[in-house]
């Protein structure tokens, strides 16, 4: 058991660090938490390109696709170091974390040549088109139809909660190709060009006030059969690979943590409150437990293990904790805590922004309840929920 870098790891860390110092500023208290907008997108693309050229984008991917061919421990080190800087990384998380790995796993050689390196260099952004108004936790219930027409498929339907669809170039879309089959059997996955005729992304005005997610409408969208990922009817299998990667990717550090509320409590005097101190200890222990669990996972990955369902614990811990911390930060100042007026109480804004974002975090990428089901069924081996829809043809299912 050793937390120190090996000689090779230390060398890599120094190299990463000097690269970052050359290109970015260190984070400080004024770093915006969840930046967005055209300018941010432009900076994000530039940074992704810089990383790719420096050999630091997708460190574990093979060199033939523009990766570094490095170790997962190097990726951890890179993430640790990059996290200390003002790095605009958000727009690529879904594409590089979930979509493109799915293309790598199920795409043809042509797909990989066409898409992987461009995504890695930040030239093209991807989104994941799974959820629908009636298919959230029950993802396999999607109704978006893909009908074969000659060498093409014609897609009609609606997706929802698609992060970044409005600035994405490509997406992976889960569609129903056989409504007569039971719901998991009639699905197929496709690559879709988001700029083509018939694709319309409408940003959703979220409870938080932001507009990161979209509704996406497909009206007679034609996709060539060559842009299918996996076999016809095997879309669920493909989706599971994406979802597994999603659970690894989400649950990072989504907002203010124990350190920030500790600093805040020191500035307000609440730090001397015994009840607050006990809560602070709980937050530290859980956050530390999750961070260290990631180290255990990385150690296992570096020995050749594959990421498993146990990674579902991350978001359960972090999303709840974020909500709880922000709630306490607001209550800390009684009536005063409600204000985020920039002249009077600028510090409140940080916690209030995350307070409004936290409910979404507990839902996105699998609700707490779904993640607990995954742990119960796939880690502990408990029986699956009763699924009355499992063998019923999809078009005979009750829906509402």
């Amino acid at each position: 058991m050793d937390f120190n870098d090996t000689a090779e790891e230390a060398e890599f860390r120094a190299e990463a660090r000097s690269f970052l110092e050359k290109h970015l500023k260190l984070k400080d208290a004024n770093t915006p938490r969840r930046p967005s907008g055209e300018d941010f997108l432009k900076r994000a693309k530039e940074w992704q390109k810089t990383k790719a050229e420096g050999g630091f984008a997708q460190i574990t991917w093979p060199k033939e696709w523009g990766g570094r061919g490095g170790t997962s421990m190097q990726q951890v080190i890179w993430n640790q170091e990059e996290g200390k800087f003002e790095a605009p990384t958000g727009p690529f998380a879904i594409g590089l974390g979930m979509c493109v790995p799915t293309v790598i796993a199920f795409g043809s050689n042509e797909h990989k040549k066409r898409y992987v390196e461009k995504a890695l260099r930040g030239e093209e952004i991807w989104c994941q088109l799974f959820s629908e108004p009636a298919a959230g936790s029950d993802v396999a219930g999607v109704k978006t139809r893909a009908v074969k027409d000659g060498d093409d498929w014609v897609i009609n339907g609606q997706k929802v909660w698609t992060t970044g669809a409005h600035f994405s170039d490509y997406g992976i879309v889960l569609a129903r190709t056989d409504p007569k089959a039971p719901k998991h059997k009639g699905l197929t996955m496709f690559i879709v060009d988001m700029h083509q005729q018939g694709v319309e992304a409408r940003p959703i005005h979220q409870a938080s006030g932001g507009r990161e997610f979209n509704e996406v409408y497909f009206t007679d969208v034609r996709i060539p059969d060559s842009d299918r990922l996996g076999e016809v009817g095997e879309g669920w299998k493909v989706a599971l690979v994406t979802l597994m990667n999603e659970r690894l990717a989400v649950g990072g550090s989504p907002g203010p943590d124990w350190k920030e509320i500790m600093d805040y409590a020191r500035s307000t005097g609440t730090i001397s409150d015994q009840a607050f101190r006990e809560k602070l200890a709980d937050w530290y222990v859980a956050a530390q437990g999750y961070n260290l669990t990631k180290f255990r996972t990385q150690t296992a990955l570096s020995r050749g293990a594959t990421p498993g369902p146990e990674n579902s614990i991350g978001k359960i811990i972090t999303a709840n904790q974020l909500q709880d911390i922000c709630n306490s930060a607001i209550e800390m100042q009684d009536h005063y805590g409600i204000m985020n007026d920039s002249d009077t109480m600028p510090a409140n804004a940080l916690f209030q922004q995350s307070f409004m974002w936290a409910p979404g975090l507990r839902i996105a990428g699998g609700t707490d309840e779904i993640l607990k089901n995954i742990i119960a069924e796939r880690v502990l081996g408990l029986p699956q929920d009763v699924r009355v829809d499992k063998k019923v043809p999809f078009d005979e299912l009750k829906q509402g």
Binding site: D2, Y284, F295, N373
Partner: protein, 371 residues
């Protein structure tokens, strides 16, 4: 970085689990539970001594195996899992660690070898009543050669041959070593919530004692002993918590209600998933504690507190929800759930309750982030 036990350490864990699975079953635990005259299980203790585990982290020059703290952590987890009804923690995590930390060469060479051989059973006496012992307010006094006053409760105080005692000396606190069979020592067993681990009241009336470490160093040494013991106790708690999760999971798969296993219901599944999450949080914090302990890292105070807090929370939650999952059966004397429930509470308050460790943790974080 490598955040896992080595293959050798994992082998030790699996051997320890096999051994305890055969030699220290809950039937052995119940022999102690059901017999008021029994303070511990002598047969199990004898075998633990023979395995050399007490000396796992004691240097070879004193007769130990000279392995290391990581190996002791691995054994502790298995002892906790088996609810071993023996004075292992008292002797090994507290008494022997105090000697290793503060003992003179003469003290170490005269005592540690006897600890390893089982001739000396140790205990650690700090508590004098409700609340965490405050070195500034101790009532047991030491005048340089003799101690007087009462310690209560002392885990294994009735079966130990020797004690390390936290005492007031002049204006400060010190640690002293006492032979409990000497004149001026009287002991009385006290009954507790957890009868498989014995407790006593020890009264010193001018008993001979020798200082461990320098005069006035008691508060710092006590902290150091607590930090070390906290990590080891946390591993025991982790072992117990994991066993509770296994018991609950096994039962939820085989117990049918409404025509299917109860583990098919989300209310039960989510409860067990929460247990799993807490146990993972505890395991990861414990590993960090083990690392800090084995390397004498500057982070030990935070790491010890976090491992103890996470493990206390995990074991408490797992032990209570294990009973709940078992339903009415879980509330019977015959089913083992209550053995874990009792042990969980003992381990959570021994060496300071969660409230105490939360304060230690936050103080450490404040110091660390002061700059």
């Amino acid at each position: 970085m490598n955040f896992d036990f080595s293959e050798d350490q994992k082998f030790l864990a699996s051997e320890a689990r096999k051994f305890l699975g055969a030699q220290c079953t809950t039937a052995h635990v119940r022999e102690v539970l059901d017999d008021d005259a029994k303070s511990h299980h002598e047969g199990v203790w004898q075998k633990v001594v023979e395995m050399g585990w007490i000396g796992a982290a004691i240097p070879e020059e004193y007769g130990g195996l000279g392995l290391g703290m990581l190996e002791l952590c691995v054994i502790a987890e298995e002892m906790g899992r088996a609810l071993a009804p023996v004075p292992f923690a008292s002797t090994t995590y507290f008494f022997a660690e105090a000697l290793k930390l503060a003992g003179s060469e003469a003290q170490k060479s005269s005592i540690l070898e006897k600890v390893v051989s089982g001739e000396v059973v140790g205990c650690y006496a700090a508590s004098e009543g409700p609340g965490n012992p405050d070195p500034a307010k101790l009532k047991v006094t030491f005048d340089g050669s003799k101690i007087s006053g009462t310690k209560l409760p002392v885990t294994d105080g009735d079966i130990a041959t020797h004690a390390v005692v936290l005492v007031k000396e002049g204006a400060g606190a010190s640690l002293v070593l006492v032979d409990l069979n000497a004149d001026g020592v009287s002991r009385k067993s006290v009954s507790t919530l957890e009868p498989t681990r014995s407790h006593a009241e020890i009264t010193f009336d001018g008993a001979s004692a020798e200082r461990l470490g320098a005069a006035g160093e008691g508060a710092d040494l006590h902290d150091a002993v607590m930090n070390r013991a906290a990590v080891l106790l946390a591993f025991e708690q982790l072992g117990g918590a994991d066993r509770c999760l296994e018991m609950a999971t096994e039962y939820a798969k085989e117990r049918y209600a409404f025509g299917r296993p109860i583990g098919g219901n989300q209310a039960i599944k989510h409860k067990l998933a929460e247990m799993y999450v807490k146990n993972q949080v505890a395991r990861s914090n414990c590993y960090y504690g083990a690392w800090a302990l084995s390397t004498d890292a500057a982070e030990l105070p935070e790491a010890a507190a976090a491992s103890r807090l996470a493990a206390s929370d995990a074991f408490w939650f797992a032990s209570k929800e294990n009973i709940q999952t078992h339903g009415g059966m879980g509330f019977t004397w015959e089913v083992d759930c209550h053995l874990f429930y009792r042990r969980a509470k003992l381990l959570a308050v021994q060496a300071g309750a969660p409230k105490v460790w939360k304060e230690k943790l936050v103080s450490a974080l404040e110091r660390k982030n002061a700059a």
